[in-house]
Amino acid sequence: MDHWKRVNNPYDDDKVIAACSLFGMMDTSGRRFSGGDIITAIANMHERGNGLGGGFAVYGLYPQYAEHYAFHVMYLNEAARREAESLLEDGFRVALAEPVPTRKIRAIENSPLVWRYFLEVRIQDRQTLSHDDYVLDKVMRINTGVRDAFVFSSGKDMAVFKGVGYPEDIANYFRLEEYQGYLWTAHGRFPTNTPGWWGGAHPFNILDWTVNHNGELSSYGTNRRYLEMFGYHCTMQTDTEVIAYAVDLLMRRHKLPTEVVADILAAPLWSQIEREDEEKATLHTTLRQVYGSLLLNGPFTVVIAHQGEMIGLTDRIRLRPLTAATKGHMLFLSSEESAIRLVCPQLDRAWNPMGGEPIVGSLERPLGKWEPVAVKEATT
């Protein structure tokens, strides 16, 4: 069980601390586009990382296998692959198994094997669990039970590509310019220690949720202990992990909508709640009373994505940067505006969202008809 901890946090610090660059772009009409632009954009924020982690999440990636769980799995050796594959074959019908195509480049050394699998849950196996919980259980088993194997991603029609290196090198290594998707997020990392472990790079994934995170949660201990009450074990000891679990708990298990989740993770201040109308004030007060332990405190910007939706959010006093921009159906989120302008000079609009204000791009609410900002009163 402690395996991840040993590789991800070899010094056994409270948590792995990292800062970074974030970028996200989504075509809310669902049109798929190549990774070329996001690679250019994230490379422009090279200075925000230190070459110890880079990664991408892509949605709408595998339309030919849209109904299959797409597993991207990293192995440090062939033995780990054989062991993990026997677990996968036990639990799933494997439609396709193949190495993820890469190209040899000088910047990436000591790369692990990365394989991808398109899997179907066998009905007789899943018993009473939902498909998602079944998959989650299998992922946890590989990650905690198989030494030297780690599941990068396990959602449908999406995948995570990540590793140790600058994000542009990781993109080059995984030949990302050859892929198409309607939603891309990217991350360049600046960890303060040097685990040098591919699994520790962002995006962090659970089912089809991905989290890119810039910041350090001073509430980590509280968040983590609260999530433990609901059966989440934060084995990787990163604050990104608690964000992912918090989102999973609130959105998937408690079925709360994005705006409400943002009001929990970056809760409105009491001084603001006191000015709201009664219904809203009651809702916000109740959320803070019940989910106070999931308030994310300390500086953060996150770009969270799942099938059909991309969310940008900062902490409520906005201690980390986030710029949002729109162009037609496109929504951009970035640590720096310059990175957006580099790939799309003529924007309809570019702005810095308020602290705690979620920016949401959704296939269900394409831009043009809908605003990317959830209806939320501006903090003054």
Binding site: S218, T286, Y291
Partner: protein, 501 residues
Amino acid sequence: MKSYLPPRFVIDRDAERCIACQVCVRQCSFDAHAYDEEENEIRSYEENCVGCHRCSVFCPTQALNIRLNPLSYRPNVNWRPEFIEDIIRQSEGGGVLLTGMGNDKPYRVYWDHLVLNASQVTNPSIDPLREPMELRTFLGRKPDRVELDPASLSLKTQLAPQVAIELPVLFSAMSYGAVSLNVQESLARAATEAGTLFNIGEGGLHQNLYKYANNVIVQVASGRFGVHPQYLDVARFIEIKIGQGAKPGIGGHLPGGKVSEDVAETRMIPAGTDALSPAPQHDIYSIEDLAQLIYALKEATNYTKPVCVKIAAVHNSAAIASGMVRAGADIIALDGLRGATGAAPKMIRDNVGIPIELAIASVDTRLREEGIRNQASIIAAGGFRNSADIVKAVALGADAVYIATAALIALGCTVCQQCPTGKCAWGIATTDPILSKRVNPDIGARRLVNLLRGWSLEIKEMLGGMGINALESLRGNRLHLRGVDLTDGELDVLGVRLAGR
């Protein structure tokens, strides 16, 4: 009988400064000073001095200094002066040794071995003078989740009653009789002004205090003094008192001499009779009995307010607390080894119970392991001395703390431990109408509000330093604590790493 007890204190009276004004004579309620008319001099009766400093604070010419009596016994690790004098006292009076205030023995004070974190480089500290900093805390039962109507997104979940406090500090139970009405009124006004609550203790709620009812916690203790429908109806929450940190496992005894007409009316007992609180609540001999009382009180108040259960922190607190939550307690109050009292047998006060730090940690951990931590708030009590202790308690897992000794010190108390004598020279632990006037509720409330304000500013500074702007992000956040000079076993119970790790 000639007493063999040596004076505990020496009264230094500077003859050059003393103007024989007799302030000390009038201030001392223990008769340690007397005026000699013939010689026009003040005499000292040091055997009566309790070291409360009332005289020296009020001496207009600073002629008085009170020192420990340097009288030495032959050194003996086993037969220390305290034990020798306890035996002298008992051989002269018989009976149980009575004392007041909290345990004064050198048990480890874990607060002094826990240090807090601060942000450097990777995480900006937050300046509370320029940024919002939230201490508001809600006490009461919280559900596992919030449910919204899927269509309208309106709130479906209705929470059990919650009580908001503006800083994580409440005034702990001090009953009328144990302290004067002026003390209770000072606490009441201060709680009202500071946005917190005061606990009226087990002696009933005096008519004059009903105007502060919005900030009152009422107790239902084993003596059931002063419990009637209105008493329950006005309270913000009700506390069932099972035990007290200063005297776990035993009851209380307010001597008839302290039961004035006024105290008697408030307690609903005849004047001049002893007010006896039995050791257990005689309708609670087990956990299901507690559940019945909790729900009887909830029924009686139509489920409009939380019910708290207060226990002394003892060896099995974690398991007991878990049972209390399952029995329906919305708040649990834990009173530790150093919790104070108006009167307790010295042997009990000094030898029974466990330190509050360890109790908070083990109860919080157990409730989390069982997935029920959100179902009850934890109030910790027992010797909190300053705002840093409080921040550490919250980081260990408490929602808020009770203070009593600290509040009394703000009113003048010097922890001289003479509470059971009823002669408190500071007018605090007494029902004597003359002495009671020494606490003026206007001034008392001001001093208490000042204290709470100071602590709340300090708490905000410490939170900001840790990069936290809402207290709820510190609750149970033990990663912000490190231990210094603690054993592995102690660190394990506290759930805290050694400093440097």
